[in-house]
């Protein structure tokens, strides 16, 4: 087998796909990826190809997600589910340190960060973008989050380009997909042609190349790159949603008192679903958990949400008391002030917040309304 370089393309036949698992496991990676559970495609540990959602797809709309059988046996014939890779890099609850009493003082022991390196199998282009947004949050500022950084540096990213878009997808609008541009160690495109089922694999890094050294590969046909491009173009043409991002930063921040906020706030339940499924939302809370005798203490970090009243509580009073202010904070942060903070949008166009909103609030629709409906002129009769 020749030595693979970044950019090289090879073909992996479907019947050889188990060898990719074996190669990853032999290199010490724990493979995590998509699997069917509880009526959804979720991300969890995988032991082999049989754990993948073989022959399944998902149908998504605002507030709606259903699994359906495909007519073929595609391994990656769906879009994105309720989970994102965030839960592996930035766990929903994480112990930061433990402390024990030491006379009048105390001794702090930071939580060790260990565990095997993870191979993320089946990352979508929007999800690679989501990880890169969180890289900026946890590793790109004056402080580095030790747990995130330790886990992140060990991850192997195996991307799968989308061949279809979901009903709530809009990665084309956000410039994040469906084609994989960068940030993957391997880029996989699944090709189903009549009876033939194979994967076009492009090397994205030396780590990716190293994994492939023990996988049976064939040379790519001259028309294989064009086939992959056509598959991606098909996905790009079938986006379920679109978001006009032109001037969106100023549009939102100059319309903090737009009447639309009140309309959407009447629907919003402040349930936090959108922030839990979002691959970039990063708010957290810290909890001090002592034992009964207060001799030993654990410090835990848990996901929090800008929809929780407690997030802004000071002196027993929340700053953002209304649904209006909390939804406005979420949307203006995600699409506008995120740019000020991290030099990127906080939205990657995955559509999860639309699909998993129990009342089907659609941020693309909300932005369009703020863009097209002029603010109501102030009247002496007040807002009602």
């Amino acid at each position: 087998m020749d030595t693979l370089k970044v950019g090289d393309r090879r073909v992996l036949e479907r019947h050889d796909f188990p060898s990719l698992f074996r190669a990853l496991q032999a290199k010490g990676y724990q493979v995590v990826g998509p699997t069917v559970r509880d009526g959804a495609i979720v991300y969890d540990q995988l032991s082999g190809v049989d754990d993948l959602p073989v022959g399944w797809t998902d149908r998504q709309e605002a507030g709606k997600y259903r699994l359906e059988r495909r007519k073929d046996e595609a391994l990656f014939g769906y879009t994105v589910g309720p989970f994102s890779w965030k839960k592996f890099l930035y766990p929903s609850h994480e112990r930061l340190w433990t402390a024990s009493r030491d006379g009048p003082s105390f001794v702090i022991t930071p939580e060790p960060v260990d565990g095997p390196p993870l191979a993320f199998l089946g990352m979508r282009a929007c999800e690679l973008a989501g990880v890169s947004v969180q890289d900026r949050v946890f590793m790109g500022g004056p402080y580095v989050d030790p747990g995130y950084a330790a886990r992140r540096r060990k991850v192997l990213r195996i991307a799968v380009q989308c061949g279809q878009a979901g009903g709530t997808c809009f990665c084309v609008s956000m410039g994040t997909g469906p084609g994989v541009q960068e940030g993957a160690d391997l880029i996989v495109t699944e090709v189903l042609e009549g009876k033939r089922h194979y994967f076009l694999v492009q090397v994205g890094s030396s780590e990716g190349a190293a994994v492939l050294s023990d996988v049976p590969l064939k040379a790519a046909a001259p028309d294989d790159p064009a086939k992959a491009d056509a598959i991606v173009s098909r996905a790009a043409a079938s986006m379920g949603r679109a978001l006009d991002t032109d001037g969106i930063h100023d549009l939102l921040l100059k319309n903090l008192e737009h009447p639309r906020w009140e309309i959407v706030a009447r629907r919003c339940l402040s349930c936090t679903n959108c922030t839990m499924v979002c691959p970039t939302c990063f708010c957290s809370n810290q909890e001090e958990v002592p034992d009964l005798a207060v001799e030993k203490v654990e410090r835990w970090r848990r996901w929090d949400s800008c929809f929780n009243l407690g997030l802004t509580e000071m002196h027993g009073q929340a700053v953002r008391k209304t649904n209006l202010s909390r939804y406005r904070q979420w949307l203006t942060h995600k699409l506008a002030s995120w740019h000020d903070q991290f030099g990127t949008s906080g939205c990657v166009g995955c559509g999860r917040c639309i699909t998993w909103c129990p009342v089907g609030i659609d941020l693309t629709e909300e932005v369009a309304a703020i863009r097209t409906v002029p603010p109501a002129p102030a009247t002496s009769e007040g807002k009602k």
Binding site: F138, G141, Y143, P146, T312, R320
Partner: protein, 293 residues
């Protein structure tokens, strides 16, 4: 050291960004406790680990930890030229601050910090300085006042306006009395409400601004107090002609991590913990005009 005081270190030099775990507090021993008002105490702290000095800039804060209770963001109220002694003035309002206020000498607390951007005192050199403090807004301003006193010749007129709810709520009362004797600054003290034994002014701090003596276009103002007080003070200062980029407010928000990770303290584009707490009115004004940002 004098040079350091006027060109203080930024937070990136602070202990909080060292190789140690950024969430792990370091032990400090309470060496003295002063009851300032019925609900406010000043704690003096010394590092338990030798050589663990905590250099800071006026306006910065620490996360102060009580074992088994939790952490709270508290501004530093001591002297930047004495990093070996850490001073925090704490009002007992919540779980952690009540525990802090009950501590006595010998107790050990945890410290992470210093964090945030302090008052930009360099930008005030050669200009008149107006300091407006409301209630517990004075402690985060005191380190900067000390620096101004030390380099008094570097500044023009110095005007201090200090207000509290009642005379009992004035902190650093004895020290403030010594400032009243100084001929190189002017200080106005006012309370919202007082009994017959109060001989001073009554009313909110904003009422004192028209009487304050400063050359408005050539003035830098540092304001700290409740948000509503800062908003109207900044408006009054701007109305007198102080440039909005020279009016600085110390914002208060819920802070859990102080590192820009937890999202709690966001105020528009700013993480108050990291980009603030001291922020220019020029960028705050549009946000202060909207409810519940």
């Amino acid at each position: 050291m004098a040079t350091d005081a006027i060109h203080p270190q930024t937070h990136s030099h602070g202990a909080g960004s060292g190789a140690a775990h950024p969430f792990a507090p370091r032990p400090f021993v309470v060496t003295a406790r002063t009851q300032e008002t019925p609900d406010t105490v000043t704690l003096r702290l010394a590092p338990k680990l030798s050589g663990d000095r905590l250099s800071f800039k006026g306006g910065q804060f620490n996360m102060v930890y009580v074992f088994g209770v939790g952490e709270s963001a508290i501004s530093i109220s001591g002297d930047t030229t004495h990093p070996e002694e850490l001073v925090h003035t704490v009002r007992a309002v919540g779980k952690v601050t009540n525990a802090l206020a009950a501590l006595t000498p010998g107790a050990v607390v945890g410290i992470r910090g210093p964090y945030g951007q302090g008052w930009p005192l360099d930008s005030a050199r050669g200009r008149d300085v107006v300091i407006v403090a409301g209630g517990l807004g004075l402690p985060p301003l005191r380190p900067t006042l000390y620096e101004i006193f030390r380099h008094r010749e570097s500044f023009g007129r110095v005007e201090i306006i200090y207000g509290a709810r009642t005379p009992k709520d004035l902190v650093f009362a004895e020290e403030v009395r010594t400032w009243l004797q100084r001929s190189d600054l002017r200080i106005q003290i006012t309370v919202d409400a007082a009994g017959r034994d109060w001989n001073g002014d009554v009313g909110v701090v904003t009422v004192r601004i028209p009487d304050a003596r400063f050359d408005a276009p050539n003035t830098t103002a540092f304001v700290c107090g409740p948000e509503i007080m800062m908003k109207f003070t900044a408006q009054a200062l701007a109305q007198r002609g102080v440039p909005t980029e020279s009016i600085w407010l110390s914002m208060e928000r819920n802070m859990k991590c102080a590192l820009g990770f937890c999202g709690h303290c966001q105020y528009g584009p700013s993480f108050v913990c990291r980009d603030g707490p001291c922020l220019p009115y020029k960028t705050l004004a549009p946000l202060l005009a909207v409810k519940e940002v």
